[in-house]
């Protein structure tokens, strides 16, 4: 459902291509950041409203999903490079503080006991898991313009 109960402007596929992320992700992100100080809409000293939070989010997702340089979408979203750069930091900080404890935590005693028991059946008593390391290049990394400036 779009604004004022009308049909949404973009269908799901157009939304994906236009905003780089599915509608649910953008909505989730905007709900998450809407109360943070940085993303709230401010008035500047001349009483002009500053960028809307959705404006900032669109720029952030362009940087994160397409690997655009921070000043690439400044004409589209009407923001300076530093604002976009700071929005990326703020959104990532929001995501980390909100979901880190959900997805990335060490097992508690009960879970650890289950793991140890199961690995004891696999002839490795006392094994908590396996650990390894791998090269994984970020193909969205904007390195084409490295050292140009």
């Amino acid at each position: 459902m779009g604004v004022d109960g009308q049909d949404p402007v973009y269908i799901e596929h157009d939304f994906n291509t236009r905003f780089c992320v599915p509608r649910a992700v953008l909505r989730c992100g905007s709900l998450e950041v809407k109360d943070t100080t940085f993303f709230r809409r401010h008035l500047n000293s001349t009483s002009c409203p500053q960028a809307h939070q959705l404006q900032k989010l669109v720029a952030v997702f362009r940087v994160l999903a397409y690997g655009h340089a921070e000043d690439r979408s400044d004409e589209l979203v009407r923001q300076i490079r530093l604002t976009i750069l700071y929005s990326v930091k703020c959104l990532v900080a929001c995501i980390v503080s909100r979901w880190e404890s959900t997805y990335q935590q060490r097992p508690n005693n009960v879970e650890l006991k289950t793991i140890l028991d199961r690995n004891a059946e696999r002839v490795f008593p006392g094994c908590m898991g396996s650990l390894d390391w791998s090269h994984w290049a970020c193909h969205q990394c904007p390195r084409g313009m490295a050292r140009s400036y």
């Binding site: 935590q105 140890l116 490795f124 094994c127 908590m128 898991g129 650990l131 390894d132 390391w133």
Partner: protein
């Protein structure tokens, strides 16, 4: 990217962002996991178990043969000579490949190479 995980795709720890030049050992030295282990904050040593007749309380992680021989890492024998060591290596590799499976799944799903 350093990953630590168990059988059902539950990643406990994922350290991403190390520059491309360090090798496995250097990445491990600077990861928060290794710092926590050396400082004694992790893992909890309250359950004892008895592999090979010796009693231990420190659980361990399975790693490749390139990692150093620490008490919390269990690597395979580098040059197995006896039959016992070969059997151990075979079993250890069978369990340790869990993490290779994780990297395969991650790269396939996110289409990153």
């Amino acid at each position: 990217m350093e990953a630590l995980w168990d059988e059902d795709l539950w990643v406990w720890q994922l350290d991403v962002g190390a520059p491309g030049s360090p090798n496995d050992i250097n990445v491990m030295y600077q990861s928060s996991l290794s710092l926590d282990v050396t400082a004694g904050r992790w893992p909890p040593c309250n359950r004892s178990y008895t592999p090979n007749g010796t009693s231990r309380t420190l659980p361990d992680y399975l790693v490749d043969a390139v990692y150093p021989r620490y008490a919390f890492l269990m690597s395979r024998h580098r040059m197995p000579s006896t039959e016992e060591q070969k059997v151990f290596n075979r079993l250890q590799e069978a369990v340790c490949k869990d993490v290779e499976r994780l990297f395969g799944i991650l790269t396939q799903r996110n289409a990153s190479t």
